[in-house]
């Protein structure tokens, strides 16, 4: 824009560097402290370097049912990921055409991001409690007997997570289809492809890298979600909820080890997704003549 670097540039660059340090510094500190020696505490200095706290975590020593919470979070995250991709993709396709209530549906999805999570969570909890009461008093004996609650990880919990991941999924779909070159579809149709064939063999392969991005988004949003889960998850907590509960009681670096491990999973998932996207892009570049180069 202008020639040479102005003094303002250097001032702003320093500010930016400070901002990045502010973002990363604390995280790096707990990453280091999670390798604290067995006799070390929650703060510096390091009393030796060890994997002691990771071992304790692995054996479940000191902390209740971390392995179970880990498994539950992983299962829920995967289901949320699949549903987020499927439902947002389908809805994204629908929004390219006109349908009754499109405006209202978009409004509701955005509202779901803005309404405080605790309110949504409370609403879902109330809904399931009322459903429980109704089933116990009016339901057929087969259901009513022995029913404790309909609330659970894959009923109310799953729903709560979807109200958080789907709006993001839809917004990303809008971005994808805004950039999508419709001439590919027209060409496919002109060549006699059915709508399904067009979707399967033309549209999906082109947008696949971005769709993987939606899945990645869905998984990590679910993996870290607490606020919406707080009232709606049922009896057994997810991993971030256990972590939150631990903040008030734990006085050893256990919690840092758990933090480092959880972050590790997030980064692994991201790396896998980005790797898949890169491979797909490379394949598109090699095989698909000029396809996909929107």
């Amino acid at each position: 824009m202008r020639e040479g670097r102005s003094p303002a540039f250097y001032a702003l660059a320093v500010f930016f560097a400070a901002f990045v340090l502010f973002l990363y510094g604390p995280m790096i500190v707990i990453f280091i402290l999670s390798f604290q020696g067995p006799s070390g505490g929650l703060t510096f200095p390091m009393n030796g370097v060890s994997l002691h706290w990771f071992e304790r975590l692995w054996q479940g020593g000191g902390i209740v049912d971390i392995a179970g919470a880990f498994k539950r979070s992983l299962q829920l995250g995967i289901v949320v990921m699949i549903l987020t991709v499927a439902l947002s993709l389908s809805a994204g396709l629908a929004f390219r055409k006109r349908f009754f209530g499109a405006g209202a549906l978009f409004f509701v999805a955005v509202a779901s991001l803005i309404v405080p999570s605790i309110v949504t969570s409370l609403g879902i909890a109330l809904e399931f409690r009322l459903l429980d009461d109704f089933l116990k008093s009016h339901g057929p004996a087969l259901i009513a007997d022995g029913l404790t609650t309909t609330m659970g990880l894959f009923t109310s919990g799953l729903g709560a997570h979807l109200t958080w991941t789907l709006p993001f999924g839809l917004l990303v779909m809008f971005a994808i289809f805004n950039r999508f070159d419709q001439r590919y579809e027209e060409a496919a149709r002109d060549l006699g492809a059915t709508p399904w064939q067009t979707l399967r063999h033309v549209v999906l392969p082109i947008i696949l890298p971005s769709v993987i991005g939606v899945g990645l988004f869905g998984f990590t949003l679910s993996w870290d979600e607490i606020a919406r889960s707080s009232q709606a998850i049922g009896e057994r907590n997810t991993l971030p909820m256990e972590l939150q509960a631990l903040t008030t009681t734990v006085t050893t670096p256990d919690i840092y080890a758990l933090g480092t491990a959880t972050t590790g999973v997030s980064f692994l998932v991201i790396a896998l997704a980005l790797g898949a996207i890169a491979i797909l892009r490379a394949r598109q570049a090699r095989h698909g003549s000029d396809a996909g180069q929107a």
Partner: protein, 298 residues
């Protein structure tokens, strides 16, 4: 929402059917739950259960003393005033930092690749849980934390500072740490849309850097600023986790009132407080929307 509307003939599946599963999720897990919150807020309750009988008891109790205690503030007003203060502080800090960062990225970083790399650098911390990002302040701000060690070694203070952690300070700091990026993204987006010739024109017409910033860039960034503000303000308004973890469970907030009631299994008062919280949040959004029509900008 500027999805191209060109018609696609003979769809295999009608559009409404494609949107139906998505819509159903929001009906069952968002719209209906909100309806239940409103209904239950008008129910009665006892120590064990909620009683489906119409009463305004929960609201009356929530606002108890608000009139008689004047000019002193009742509990709920105190809580909302305190939450609003946090909103304002966090909003001002995230706006100042977010605008500066976005300005640097948009106007001073010249290559698009560098821009993207720096942008990604800022997003990476978002891939970890907020709780982990919160607890990562403990070794820094705690009584024996790095900051206190440094201050004491430099003989700036004789005893460790107690207000660094589990205090209003740490709550505000955590909010800024967690959510400044929500301010950066929309402002950066607005800045990237600004036609660079406008800025050239301002310089050519003799405007100083400050005048250009204030009279050209800031007004054109308004939509981004408003969207970012809505994000940050509504998050702080409804938050109970950051207040809980960073405030050592000692600081009240609008969102935490709901949680406290829920911990006591008092659903109707919790619902009433949720309705009040929702009302206040919507008022703030409407007020911010008066400044800029956000829907036009999406």
């Amino acid at each position: 929402m500027s999805t191209s509307r060109s018609q696609i003939e003979s769809p295999a599946v009608p559009a409404w059917l494609q949107a139906a599963p998505f819509a159903l999720v929001f009906l069952v897990f968002f719209v209906l739950p909100l309806v239940f919150v409103v209904i239950v807020s008008f129910w009665d309750y006892n120590d064990y259960e909620m009683l489906p009988a119409f009463t305004t008891r929960s609201y009356v109790e929530s606002f108890e003393g608000c009139w008689t205690q004047l000019p002193d503030l009742c509990t709920i007003l105190k809580t909302y005033v305190s939450t609003a203060k946090f909103c304002f502080i966090v909003w001002a800090a995230t706006l100042a930092i977010g605008f500066t960062v976005a300005y640097f990225l948009a106007f001073h970083v010249r290559s698009i690749t560098t821009q993207m790399v720096l942008f990604l650098l800022c997003t990476i911390p978002f891939w970890t849980s907020n709780v982990i990002r919160m607890i990562s302040w403990i070794p820094l701000l705690g009584r024996n934390g790095l900051v206190n060690q440094l201050l004491m070694n430099a003989h700036l203070t004789a005893t460790p500072l107690e207000w660094l952690l589990y205090s209003p300070f740490s709550v505000a700091l955590a909010f800024v740490h967690l959510f400044t990026f929500f301010m950066v993204v929309p402002i950066f987006n607005s800045m990237m849309r600004i036609d660079r010739t406008l800025i050239e024109a301002a310089y050519d017409s003799g405007a100083s850097a400050w005048q250009t910033l204030w009279s050209v860039v800031v007004p054109l960034c308004k939509p981004g600023i408003v969207i970012g503000s809505i994000f940050v303000v509504t998050i702080v308004m409804g938050d109970f986790i950051t207040f809980g973890v960073m405030g050592g469970q000692q600081i009240a907030s609008a969102g935490k009132v709901v949680e406290t009631r829920l911990d006591a299994l008092q659903f109707p008062p919790a619902a009433a407080n949720a309705v009040i919280l929702l009302g206040v949040t919507l008022l703030i959004i409407v007020a911010l929307n008066r400044i800029v029509d956000v829907r036009k900008e999406l």
